[in-house]
Amino acid sequence: MATLNLETVELSKKFGKVTALNGIDLAVNEGEVFGYIGPNGAGKTTTIRVLLGILQATKGSAKVFGLDAWKDAVEIHKRLAYVPGDVNLWPNLTGGEVIDLFVSLRGKQNKERRAKLLEQFDLDPTKKCRTYSKGNRQKVALVAAFACDADLFILDEPTSGLDPLMEQVFQECVLEQKNLGKGIFLSSHILSEVERLCDRVGIIREGKLVETGTLSELRHLTRITMTVATQSPITGLETLTGVHGIRTQPDGLSFQVDSAQVGDVVSHLAQFGVKKLESTPPTLEDLFMRHYDSANVGV
């Protein structure tokens, strides 16, 4: 059993009457890249702020490195780096100054690493923060985070303003940290990014964690899309359990099938003489849509 990097138990947070988090149970292992996804206002940023010890949980507990997120915040933060979703910097300081501040607050400087990251992200550290574009402000925060010798990186939509090239650089940085055995907690709306980087994913909706697991585990819970062409017309498909959305295509049928029922469906199809069978695993996007769209919950 791997040690836990962070853990929440029955975590709830209320703002007055608004319940932002409602009994979140999270467990992220050491050296794991964890994707945290969910619609706007689901509670991702709130979770992160509780984990950072800048909001106090209303109920439940939040632990990072086995320490209490609220009480031992300083101890925790020595080994943690954070990139906020909205990066606001001091208008009259340069990017370089801000990077140095954050790195020095956490410990010692690593000049080489800083220089390398500046080059990778193509960032000019001599400009005043007020003149940076949104993407460049985000780069300042990313360089400041990755230049730290942290064991856990908490990233809240870190790439929402980056161009595709920089997105690539970001992903390389994350993978590099992952190879070093560092943990990453990534909240994002960019699903391809989550799909590529994350070992496990948690989906939060309206303050509740609705799903967690590896991508393949999650896929298992959902449907596979199949397109099939047969020699004789298919009958009786609709009577099988776990088959949905049957549609006629020019050369056959397409439908969705619950992952658990694939075997049954395939043997049913065999009797009609399969000419062609395509099956597409659900993308994270499909997974997502299912959870995001409140009308579809529980389907």
Binding site: R49, D72, A73, E75, H77, N88
Partner: protein, 547 residues
């Protein structure tokens, strides 16, 4: 417990770095300006005994309410006179510096999301507010030393070096108390403008508490206010140390209270809970003008109430003024009553004359205070621009001129409303008296006659917004100058006549005492219009400046 303050030291260094320009300017301006006035005051009275006489003449309730109790009269040295007259004003300036400084590093940074990233580093929960207080302390110490040295070396005989250092440190510690007060409001309020606004309100309130206490000779009341306490140092005469010590304790108390409040609240939250607002906009919001009015609404309402109450509080003491002033010819002169009137007035109309002159003084004072919200209204579009919010408005097909016009109209309207509120406040308090010295019409006229001067300042503000959007500080420079002329202009030889004439307020006939003349009013109105139109012209033709 210690971890609550972790990394405060590094944050202090960082804050000082951010302060290097702003605070340096404040310190230099305060030290040079204060030290510069000392020799001027010293040389004002060359004949022996003249200063003595002046000292006795300012020992009257009105002046005491304004500047604190006169002391050292037995042997009125230049130092005694300087400290007596200047200490409070310098403290107020330094208090303003402290309020801005603390709010800038606490609530403002929190609002901008900067505290969040700092808190994600291994910094203690209280490190930011603690570092802000330490930074304020350091800035105040530097200011105290700079001011003390400047006064000590400026070469006025009665202002010794040690006493000058005490003067500097009394100013510094009193300023630091307001840093503490601002730190408390930075926790209570849920945004930057709230924190700044409440702190200023506290400063104003403490000034009035002190004025009330000093006027009644009630030391305990006056010393509730840090301003009154600081004045009790009686620098250059008694050189008391105890006020410094009490102020230090008060400042530490404020800081501890702020820390305690900070410890029990969430980031981005205040202690006034937010409630849900309307889901659909009111019709009145849906125009450029409506938007501007909405942005300014709360500030406007608060100011109108404040001005009404302030005027009423002046009005409530007005009946007692003749008794306070008594028969002393010097007092009468200080209120501004010319000698021939003093000589010819009969017992029957004496009280009325005194009240009239006091009334004129109150009206000009109120008008100067009213300039603060009026200027803020005209400057608001610049704040909106700097924070990047005008862009979206202009992107929604609103012509630039039209949006600016909204703010300018509101500034002009506010000048009228606020003068009306002041007149009403004053009248409401005096109307309960047996013999009301004022008529409402008369008061309204006396307040409204200042409007053209206020408009010139609005015009100047619009011009700056259009022409030099990055140096809106110039507007406050002009305001400070106008204030100075109105209060120190009467002192012989301090400010040359031509310089005083730059102040638009100087040209206003002070009704009901002076005779009504329309010429200066018309000229001022024309100047105001020209400045405003020029401002519009430059605004139309310039880029948006978002920094």
């Amino acid at each position: 417990m210690r971890s609550n303050f972790a990394n405060s030291g590094k944050l202090v260094r960082f804050m000082l770095r951010r302060e290097r320009v702003t605070s340096a300017i404040w310190i230099i301006v305060v030290a040079l300006f204060s030290a510069g006035l000392a020799p001027a005051m010293d040389q004002m009275f060359s004949e022996p005994g003249a200063r003595q006489q002046f000292g006795e003449s300012i020992n009257n309730p009105v002046m005491v309410a304004m500047m604190g109790p006169t002391y050292g009269i037995e042997n009125y040295t230049a130092g005694a006179m300087y400290a007596n007259m200047m200490l409070l004003w310098i403290i107020i300036a330094v208090a303003i510096m402290n309020i801005f400084l603390v709010v800038r590093h606490t609530r403002a940074d929190e609002e901008y999301g900067r505290v969040e990233v700092i808190r994600s580093a291994p910094t203690g929960r209280l490190a930011v507010v603690n570092a802000a207080m330490v930074t304020a302390a350091i800035v105040n110490i530097i200011l105290a030393i700079a001011l003390g040295v400047a006064l000590g070396v400026v070469g006025v005989e009665s202002m010794g070096f040690a006493a000058s250092m005490l003067f500097g440190f009394v100013v510094g510690i009193a300023g630091f108390v307001f840093a503490g007060i601002a730190a408390i409001f930075a926790q209570l309020a849920s945004n930057r403008s709230g924190a700044t606004g409440f702190s200023f309100l506290a400063l104003g309130l403490f000034y009035m508490i002190r004025a009330a206490g000093d006027m009644q000779g009630n030391d305990v009341l006056a010393c509730i206010s840090p301003l009154g306490l600081a004045h009790r140092s009686q620098v250059y005469v008694e050189n008391n140390l105890w006020p410094f010590i009490i102020l230090l304790v008060e400042a530490i108390g404020c800081a501890v209270a702020a820390y305690a409040l900070n410890a029990i609240r969430d980031l981005d939250q205040g202690f006034i809970p937010a409630r849900p607002g309307r889901s659909v906009a009111a019709k009145s919001l849906l125009s450029p003008f409506g938007l501007a009015a909405r942005i300014l609404r709360n500030m406007t309402i608060i100011w109108i109430i404040v001005m009404f109450v302030l005027a009423a509080s002046y009005g409530s003491v007005i009946a007692d003024i003749p008794t306070f002033v008594g028969d002393s010819p010097e007092y009468l002169q200080v209120i501004g009553i010319p000698e021939q009137i003093v000589n010819t007035m009969t017992d029957a109309d004496k009280a009325k004359i005194i009240v009239d002159y006091f009334g004129v003084f109150v009206i000009s004072m109120m008008t100067l205070v009213a300039l603060v919200p009026v200027i803020n209204t005209a400057l608001k579009i610049r704040v909106e621009e700097r924070e990047g919010r005008t862009e979206q408005v202009y992107a929604a097909a609103v012509p630039r001129m039209k949006y600016l016009l909204g703010y300018v109209i509101l500034a002009f309207v506010l000048s009228i409303l606020i003068q009306f509120a002041s007149a009403a406040g004053l009248y409401s308090a005096t109307s309960v008296l047996e013999a009301n010295p004022f008529t409402f019409d008369g008061l309204l006229q006396a307040f409204f006659v200042y409007l053209p001067a206020m408009w010139v300042i609005i015009g100047f503000t619009v011009l700056i917004v259009g022409l030099f959007p990055k140096t809106t500080g110039a507007v406050w420079g002009l305001f400070g100058f106008v204030f100075l002329v109105s209060f120190l202009g009467g002192m012989p030889g301090l400010l040359p006549e031509w310089l005083q004439n730059v102040s638009p307020v100087k040209h206003i006939p002070q009704l009901p005492l002076a005779e009504m003349t329309f010429t200066p009013l018309i000229i001022l109105t024309v100047i105001a219009l020209v400045l405003t139109v020029a401002g519009f012209f430059f605004y139309k033709n310039r880029d948006s400046v978002t920094a």
